[in-house]
Amino acid sequence: MPRLILFVPFALFLVLVGYFAVGLTRDPSELPSALIDQPVPQFELPPVQENGQGLATADLKGGVQLVNVFASWCAPCRIEHPLLMRLAKEEGVTIHGIAYKDKPQDSQRFLAQLGNPYQRIGADLDGRIGIEWGVYGVPETYIVDAEGRIRYRHVGPLMPFDLDEKILPLIRELQK
């Protein structure tokens, strides 16, 4: 009998080690969106500000845009806020907001304090539109292409390296 066969269990063991090692490097909280490359869901949300504009599916066509799901009660949203301001002011990226389960007056106060990077903001009072987008926590950020398809989803607060490594390069590429 060839002796090599004795090494089969060891080889299998190595394969399993590799398999689990890869699995452990992945962040279990970062789920891929089921909606990647799908058109944005059908929705229409009322505005947060009295004289502002709400957000609807039709607004998300005709250019590469960012949709940021936020809430005034969400601490990580405050952390990423300066980056959204930078994206809007310095990089000229169009950002729309969905205020997830947030009272409009709270959202307004939040934006008055920290500045408003959003062009349009829809108030998702009961979180139902969040479910349409597959949102499971705030903040989440989506990149929508000119045809109104979701091309990227970022879960959790945006960090500077996310902007430089993923968000901005993808926006530039989609804008070509």
Binding site: P9, L12, Y19, P28, S29, L31, P32, S33, A34, L35, P41, K101, D126, G127, R128, I131, E132, W133, G134, Y136, G137
Partner: protein, 172 residues
């Protein structure tokens, strides 16, 4: 015994803690039962090792309410489940679908079991054959002599020599 009965009663009568709030429940018991069944299939995305039926997270509640709304609107169980699956992906299903990425998950244990079974069967078969062949062979003249010496008792020196060199016939 007197103390045991209340304990047993407490253990058997204790209802599991439910996350489903009274205000979420549907009036129709059949629909409600179907809703519970679907809820148990759906993973809570916030506290990832619970079903939405077990979870107190607000999103789990929203999804439970959504499932009940869809059932009330006339969805089948399948349709209601698909609605959520389409938005949250495979991850939301506690029973993942069978497809190439999940083959390892579905068939891995069976494959390992079969391999282990085949390995053990092979090993046992070989061992039995070894035992049979050695048992069947008659003793050689040399072995015959050693056996006789052992049965007769032999002297101390010889015994000591055997203890360390059982296979060494030259010392006999």
């Amino acid at each position: 015994m007197k103390r045991l009965i209340p304990l047993l009663l407490a253990l058997t009568l204790a209802a599991p803690a439910l996350a489903v709030m009274p205000d979420e429940r549907l009036a129709d018991p059949a629909l409600e039962a179907r809703a519970r069944e679907i809820s148990k299939e759906l993973r809570c995305l916030v506290c990832q090792n619970q079903s939405i039926d077990d979870s107190n997270a607000p999103l789990a509640r929203d999804l439970r309410v959504l499932v009940r709304e869809r059932l009330t609107a006339g969805d089948s169980n399948e349709e209601a489940l698909d609605y959520i699956h389409a938005r949250y992906g495979d991850f939301v299903l506690l029973r993942p679908p069978v497809k190439p990425e999940t083959w390892a998950l579905w068939f891995g244990p069976a494959v390992v079991l079969v391999l282990a079974g085949a390995g053990s069967a092979f090993y046992l078969h070989r061992r039995r054959r070894e035992v049979e062949t050695t048992a069947a062979a008659p003793l050689t003249a040399d072995e015959e002599r050693r056996l006789e010496a052992m049965m007769a008792g032999g002297d101390d020196e010889n015994n000591r020599g055997h203890a360390g060199n059982t296979g060494d016939t030259a010392r006999l």
